[in-house]
Subunit: 358 residues, 2 copies
């Protein structure tokens, strides 16, 4: 393990970026000057989104591998570009790093970022690297492109539009619950071994790995989410132009309310239609949680939530991995969830990102 | 003072951004969707730069007012856009905020950012607001435009080119030294009063303000730097196209070495030509520091460093607030500083931002 101080800030940046290649025509100049220089295509608009991830709030390095963290921090930004019906082309990466990280750690983090970029055809064109007195901070800005007529905002939903989601919901949240549970179990075992002075137990714990068999999917959804480029491509192929769209990062309830409030509409969502994975349901059962609540309010799905005209019903129904979960109503009708037994509830926003962890 | 938890993440974002107006034609959609949407002018390239500022590393809130901090965090990014000979148009602002900040604190920080944006004709188009377990983190990305033929990189310096700097150097660094000194004096006085149980002294210290008379300029250079839009405008007016340019954030020595290494050239800088302000010199004297060393290695000047063809000598010599400090040589001659008494020294990079504070 090599100390970052041994090569300094410039040395680290050089090490991380020296063999970066750019693949997009629109990237004229990447890392290495005061700014990156981009050449937007003549008929394209530019999309910009940014996220700031803080250790202890957005990620816990006791169970998140650095490479996964790098991958995920890129994905959450690409997801925002897709949510506008655009294609990402560049990102900048800023890191604040405390002394406890080695050069190898940061290379690992960066490797995850590069993998995510390669998969999605994105260039790393700049950033900033600095020290931190405390934890790790990761700030990524993604830049994408879309034709003006293709861009989908949150405010375009119309009455009778169908509400669709990609993939399934709640899995990332259940993955997080599982990781947190195992962390607590582990911490308790260590405390117990220390209390009783059981050296054998301490030794075993040092190399212990929890058994995650059968739970791989929900862990992957939490640790290595995949932004839904495929859905954007499929929508284009089917000739479907959503009337409103966003990605689901804070939970379905919260996001559909954003679309409704910005579109000045209401909605009806059917609980029985919310797509769930088997592992999500099993894990919720195991933890004695209501799986629908997890799907509605658990965050970090990074699936796409969009509305399409009723006339596109046949087309969306045929799309792979897309499900119609309800429809848009007049604003006065509010945002309603129809439960499995036919009762109607008000959909409440319970985004968890900031509120829960603070 | 109101707790941020009382209005939540979305409430805070709304409060900060609700009356934001956009002024640039190129801003199609600002805050409020998954991405900002920009419309780059047809003949323009896009410039992108980003900075991540961490509490305890880049700023110390015991003596930096939040409004100044907001102003400065925007300026350091705009400075990078000007350093490419471009004009900034948009920024995104991400904040990670710990519990000890009130809504009013963050409004104050944001007010400084907005002031900086208004002065430079820049729109705030997006960002992210999250909690932090520790200090404040500020990540800003600036986006600008320039015609391709106008963009100035770091790598274009030619032999015999004149090396120019705007303004004067070392002032921000001396301002920082002054603030740090007063902070130490204050801390010692408090410790002494506590040790002796002197309640009268404690009371006086609570409202004590250090006497900064005659030192306003260096404080302002540290706390409220101004990106040199005026110099970029003046260069355009004079018809001067620099061959290489960057802004001075880590100290002249470090920056001129970047230009030389990227241009594969050497340089000769004359100590006696390095522009200094009177207050900088007085403060250096008072602190028994070599003022040239401060000007060469003290950071955060945010002045522009650029090279022009020898034939532009008359033009740059007439420019207000620009000084020729040396010239570009062959690479083999290295980077040299010629001292006041005619001796030649190797210019060493001693950027202080990361290395010194860690």
């Amino acid at each position: 393990m090599s100390e970052i101080a041994s090569i300094g800030e410039f040395g680290l940046i050089r090490k991380l970026t020296e063999d970066l290649k750019t693949i997009n025509k629109s990237t004229l100049k990447g890392v290495g000057d005061d700014c990156a220089v981009l050449s937007p295509a003549m008929d394209m608009k530019t999309l910009v989104t940014t996220d700031l991830l803080m250790e202890g709030v957005h990620f816990d390095l006791t169970y998140v591998p650095l490479k996964h963290l790098g991958y995920k921090s890129v994905m959450v930004n690409l997801s925002d570009i897709y949510a506008m019906n655009g294609m990402p082309e560049q990102i900048t990466v800023s890191l604040a790093i405390s002394k406890r990280f080695s050069i190898e750690d940061i290379e690992e983090l960066y490797a995850g970022m590069r993998l995510a970029c390669e998969k999605h055809g994105v260039d790393i064109v700049g950033g900033d690297t600095t020290s931190s007195m405390t934890g790790l901070a990761i700030s990524i800005t993604a830049i994408g492109r879309a034709k003006e007529e293709d861009i989908v905002y949150r405010n375009g939903a119309k009455e009778t539009d169908l509400i669709c989601v990609s993939g399934n919901l709640g899995a990332a949240y259940m993955g997080l619950q599982l990781l947190e549970r195992e962390k607590n179990v582990y911490d308790q075992q260590v405390a117990e071994a220390q209390r009783t002075g059981n050296k054998e137990a301490m030794k075993n714990l040092a190399t212990a790995q929890p058994d995650f068999a059968g739970k791989e999917y929900i862990l992957e959804r939490q640790l290595k989410p995949e932004a839904r480029r495929d859905i954007i491509a499929a929508l284009a192929k089917e000739g479907i132009h959503p009337t409103a769209m966003m990605d689901i990062s804070d939970g379905l309830s919260s996001e559909i309310r954003h679309i409704c409030s910005q579109s000045k509409k209401g909605c009806r969502i059917y609980e029985e239609r919310i797509p769930l994975d088997y592992q999500t349901a099993v894990m919720a059962e195991e933890m004695d949680m209501n799986v629908s609540t997890c799907a509605l309010n658990g965050g970090e799905d990074y699936e796409l939530l969009f509305t399409v005209p009723l006339t596109d019903n046949d087309k969306v129904s045929q799309m792979e991995d897309v499900k119609v979960i309800g429809y848009i109503t007049q604003e006065e009708q509010g945002c309603a969830l129809i439960s499995r037994d036919g009762q109607e509830f008000e959909l409440k926003a319970q985004g968890w990102n900031l509120s829960k962890k603070e």
